[in-house]
């Protein structure tokens, strides 16, 4: 029967504690969870049935719940949903083969938590504000020399150019917000990842990895950012297991 892997844990001398914790937990489709250790790395797995293979939110939430519970007690690397191997033996071999990489990734996330920060805006209002502050609205964009008479094509280019400049302006503004976030977090020794302009209204999607005891400080920083940019909407979620901070593809 195939095994589903939930997470790879750093377990040194607490294997008894892990095993007793697993007894009280259930995996996908109510399956029992058990540990497969190789030295200081332990995979937490369960047997899977066909129903457990379906990618639906019930299964995904159960899967995430197991990872979440384990992450309260152990440093771990979450596996992506749907990580299956054919046997216990194959999992042990995989752990041996990837031991140094896994070990290194575990060290990087030791005692760290992941937080997500999304910044939303009313994009039309933001565009209008930026337009007002800049000269785009008033300045003639492409200067035509007198001998070139205005044509529909040139008007079209002017219209597009205006849009292009507004987008650039928006991007510069988003960059300045990213810079402000980085600055507010600079004393926290956080690992940061930023994605910009994901949709019309989601201008920033940021991820932070930082020490557990920094949570209050992070919330304060986000509060200050919200005050600094009242027109934007800051939403922070977490703490999460370090889903976005594993840099390893297991062979």
């Amino acid at each position: 029967m195939e095994k589903m892997i939930y997470a790879l844990l750093s377990v040194k001398k607490e294997s008894d504690r892990l095993d007793s914790m697993l007894i009280g937990m259930q995996g996908i489709s109510g399956a029992n969870l058990y540990s497969l250790p190789v030295d200081e790395i332990t995979a937490v797995v369960s047997d899977t049935t066909r129903a457990g293979l379906i990618t639906d939110s019930t299964n995904a939430i159960t899967f995430a719940g197991v990872i979440e519970a384990l992450s309260q007690e152990f440093t771990l690397l979450p596996m992506r949903f749907g990580s299956l191997m054919e046997s216990t033996g194959a999992i042990l071999k995989m752990l041996e083969r990837n031991y140094p990489d896994v070990q290194q990734n575990l060290q990087q996330v030791e005692d760290m938590l992941e937080f997500g920060l999304k910044v939303f805006c009313d994009s039309e209002k933001l565009r209008a504000d930026l337009m007002e502050k800049s000269e785009i609205g008033t300045k003639t964009t492409v200067l035509s020399t007198p001998e070139v008479k205005n044509s529909v094509y040139r008007d079209w280019v002017n219209k597009k150019l205006k849009e292009h400049r507004l987008e650039e302006l928006l991007l510069t503004h988003v960059d300045s917000v990213v810079a402000a976030i980085t600055e507010h977090l600079s004393r926290m020794n956080a690992v940061c990842k930023f994605k910009k302009m994901l949709t019309e209204t989601t201008i920033i999607d940021a991820l932070f990895l930082l020490k557990k005891d920094m949570k209050t400080e992070l919330m304060q920083a986000v509060g200050n950012l919200q005050k600094q940019y009242p027109g934007l909407n800051f939403v922070m979620t977490g703490p999460w297991p370090p889903y976005n901070f594993v840099e390893i593809t297991i062979k």
Binding site: E2, A64, P78, L84, K193, K195
Partner: protein, 68 residues
């Protein structure tokens, strides 16, 4: 807080969670079985292609936005 707000925040939590558990985390490759039930292959293909476009863009810019 009324019920509606609680529902919405729960909703957001679940969406954030699903994004992580389905798209992030350690990936297994090679001879390992990966669950593909429900996954739209065309969608996946386009997504892969575009993520490589994104990577190319970043390479061209000469940096990824990552600070520590």
């Amino acid at each position: 807080m009324n019920n509606n707000v609680i529902d919405q925040s729960k909703d957001i939590t679940i969406l954030e969670l699903l994004d992580r558990v389905l798209n992030k985390g350690v990936i297994l490759t090679g001879d390992i079985v990966i669950s593909v039930a429900d996954i739209d292959l065309v969608y996946l293909g386009v997504k892969l292609m575009l993520s490589s476009v994104e990577t190319m863009e970043q390479l061209k810019k000469g940096k990824t936005i990552k600070e520590s």
